[in-house]
Amino acid sequence: MIRILFFAQLKEQLNKKEMTLPYQEITVKQLRERLEKEYSLPALSSVLFAINEEFAAEDDIIRDGDVVALIPPMSGG
């Protein structure tokens, strides 16, 4: 299982803070595509992914038990 966290506009659009998906191993790129196609999330091209609180590259592998955060464009400061 992987846990996926949503923030800011994504959290509002989906009306939820997180969801759990039954993947054992999946790349960031694959997860991005599945979220868009199978779970009807809005286009995620401008969204960064973090795995266990570190920014991840497209070919990084997400494993069972990982916490993935979807990070829309940041606007702190």
């Binding site: 959290k11 401008s46 969204v47 609180e53 590259a57 940041m74 606007s75 702190g76 400061g77």
Partner: protein, 152 residues
């Protein structure tokens, strides 16, 4: 060194005190405040949200990057989240170094890094609506990959 995400008003003097050092010849403090007018549009208030645990780590990372460039620097960064009113301080950054040029440079580095790699989001509320700002600008693309770990 002090790195915090807080929900209450920021005590600026406490942030400055965190970088006081006998070998410091300068303390530069940056206070990011909530502005009423942006391109002629009137903001009523702002809401900040953070991925708090990761944001905390990323503020610490910025501190470490500054120490790498300026080994004698002391850094304190406090970012507030929740609802903020016009003129409220959203972020306070204090840097002390032996000489002022380094303190100015390191402080500037800290705010630019916050904007590019700390997971905090701002929602602007106007009389006629509201919008998450990262979304509004639509100028940010991550096609070139994840934020650089270290600026050259």
């Amino acid at each position: 060194m002090m790195f915090q995400i807080v929900k209450e008003p920021i005590d600026v003097s406490r942030v400055i005190e965190a970088v006081v050092d006998r070998n410091a010849g300068a303390i530069v403090t940056f206070i990011g405040t909530v502005r009423e007018l942006t391109k002629g549009k009137k903001t009523l208030y702002l809401e900040y949200e953070a991925y708090e645990s990761m944001a905390q780590k990323k503020l610490e990372q910025i501190g470490a990057e500054i120490k790498q460039q300026f080994p004698n620097a002391k850094v304190a960064i406090v970012h507030r989240i929740g609802r903020l009113e016009i003129t409220d301080a959203a972020v306070v950054i204090a840097v002390s170094t032996p000489h002022r040029a380094d303190a100015y440079e390191a402080n500037r580095y800290a705010i630019e890094r916050i904007k590019e790699m700390v997971p905090i989001w701002k929602k602007e509320h106007w009389e006629d609506g509201s919008l998450w700002i990262g979304n509004q600008q639509e100028t940010i693309s991550y096609e070139k990959g994840i934020p650089k770990e270290m600026k050259s």
